[in-house]
């Protein structure tokens, strides 16, 4: 009776995408504001 | 020190006298409290949600929101008459200004609570009995802290255009620890658990009060620096 590892990779992907979007997005906003 | 206290009491008395004449804040708070109690009573399905389950949360939601209605009033009145400038020009120790406002707010809130509690007992059919003393203690401990914070924030937001929106926005996060504690203790007291079991939460509430009362008294003068 082994432990079944749940198949939830899609959540991981979603979270990682969110983080990248927010982090890169904010960095881009700072860069854009610096050019004004 | 006693001079500060004396001045504070004079200020508080003035606030209470003004309110007694206009009565608006108190009346709106009490009406609000009654409305909330009635609505919560009708809005639940009696079969699944007993009054006893809902009661502690309803009580504390009512207390906190009704109290917030009274805070802005205390400073709005004076702003309208630019009376604050008169107060500031007078040679008064700053501590007295905070203490005066605080005591007046405390009196307002206590009045609202004094009216709400019997209504609550009536509508929710809760047997207070043994729990009354402990409940009163909890109410006092949970209230002292957030009234201090409400006094500070209402002094600040009265200078903005959106005072009635800003006050709840700023104040609500600060209500979470005392309300959590108050609801936890109230729930247990109404389930006839002894007061002695609630010491941890009561101590938590007490520490919260001491910390925030002190800091609020200290930062209040900064609001009026010119």
């Amino acid at each position: 009776m082994g432990i079944e590892t749940p198949d939830n990779g899609s959540y991981m992907v979603a979270a990682y995408v969110v983080v990248c979007v927010v982090v890169v997005g904010y960095a881009a906003s700072l860069w854009r504001r610096s050019k004004q | 020190m006693t001079e500060t206290l004396r001045l504070a009491l004079v200020l508080a008395a003035k606030d209470l006298r003004v309110e007694r004449r206009s009565r608006t804040a108190l009346v709106s708070a009490v009406v609000f409290a009654a409305l909330v109690l009635v609505i919560f009573n009708f809005a639940r399905d009696p079969a699944t949600v007993t009054a006893k389950m809902l009661a502690p949360s309803v009580l504390w939601v009512t207390f906190t929101f009704a109290s917030m209605l009274t805070f802005n009033r205390a400073f709005a009145l004076e702003k309208e008459n630019a009376a604050i400038d008169g107060l500031l020009l007078s040679p008064m120790p700053r501590g007295a200004l905070f203490l005066g406002k605080y005591l007046a707010n405390l009196a307002f809130v206590a009045t609202v609570q004094a009216v709400t509690l019997p209504l609550f007992v009536l509508f929710f059919n809760v047997g207070l009995g043994q729990a009354l003393g402990g409940l009163l203690l909890t109410i006092v401990l949970a209230t002292i802290g957030f009234v201090a914070i409400g006094t500070v924030f209402s002094a600040m937001v009265v200078r903005t255009r959106f005072a009635d929106l800003m006050l709840p926005m700023l104040l609500l996060p600060f209500l979470v620890p005392p309300v959590m504690g108050a609801v936890a203790v109230t729930t247990r007291l109404l389930s006839e658990r002894p007061l002695s079991e609630q010491v941890a939460w009561l101590r938590f509430l007490g520490v919260y009060d001491v910390v925030f009362l002190t800091i609020c008294a200290m930062v209040f003068p900064a609001i009026f620096d010119e």
Binding site: M12, V19, A27, L30 | M169, L170
Partner: protein
């Protein structure tokens, strides 16, 4: 003490540079988390969200604390640059707050079966976020810079004091949230490779905070410097 335009530009440049470095660090952490760290058997791949979620929470808390501390220092020393830093840290804190409050539910759904629960830590993180929002709203509603600085500082200090009560309530309330693994007196109970990834991520996110806040602070400095140059 009015900042010069040159100081402002130099600060912005430095901030952007640190940010670029930190972004490379984030990429590294992602690679580490996805390919160089074992998958937790019971929780599956979704557990790896932890390597981004927890460090973001740390960075958010850092941002928040510094907003409060520099606010307090402003009330004491009245140096306007302290207020400008406070403002920068609040905005950056909001960004990390968004990350925490979005990755949290995405993690919660597969692991706990629910997007949200009103347990103590989630509730209070949400409220700290509201406090940041309130702080920014208050700043926007006040036009006099000195008054804005003083009032923001008061909110910042009070908010900072709220945090330990938040942390304490978490322990006093039984919650769904995993009990803090690292900040217990006993040793962290975690596979060494997982720990390595986590600690690297914490370092990277700290660097990211530094980069963000420096650049944002530079922007505030520039706004003040330009204000004077325009003869305001």
């Amino acid at each position: 003490m009015i900042p010069t335009l040159d100081d402002a530009h130099a600060t912005i440049r430095r901030g952007l540079l640190i940010t670029a470095l930190a972004l490379a660090g984030v990429a590294t952490v992602i690679i580490m988390a996805l390919w160089l760290t074992p998958t937790e058997v019971r929780q599956g791949l979704a557990q790896k969200i932890f390597y981004l979620h927890a460090p973001s929470a740390w960075a958010g808390l850092l941002a928040f604390s510094l907003t409060g501390i520099t606010g307090g220092l402003y009330l004491w020393l009245r140096d306007p640059r302290l207020d400008l830093f406070s403002e920068a840290s609040a905005e950056v804190g909001l960004v990390f707050g968004v990350i925490v409050l979005t990755t949290g539910p995405i993690w919660g759904k597969p692991i706990w079966g629910t997007w949200w629960t009103w347990d103590a830590r989630l509730t209070l993180t949400l409220f700290l976020f509201f406090l940041f929002v309130g702080y920014m709203a208050l700043r926007n509603a006040l036009s006099d810079p000195a008054e804005r600085a003083r009032f923001s500082a008061v909110v910042g200090i009070l908010g900072l004091l709220l945090v330990p009560f938040v942390h304490l309530s978490v322990y006093m309330f039984r919650t769904l949230h995993p009990q803090p693994v690292l900040l217990k007196p006993s040793a962290p109970s975690m596979d060494p490779r997982m720990l390595r990834t986590l600690l690297t991520s914490v370092g990277v996110f700290t660097l990211l905070y530094l980069g963000f806040v420096t650049a944002r602070y530079g922007l505030s400095l520039r706004r003040e410097a330009r204000g004077v140059a325009d003869g305001d």
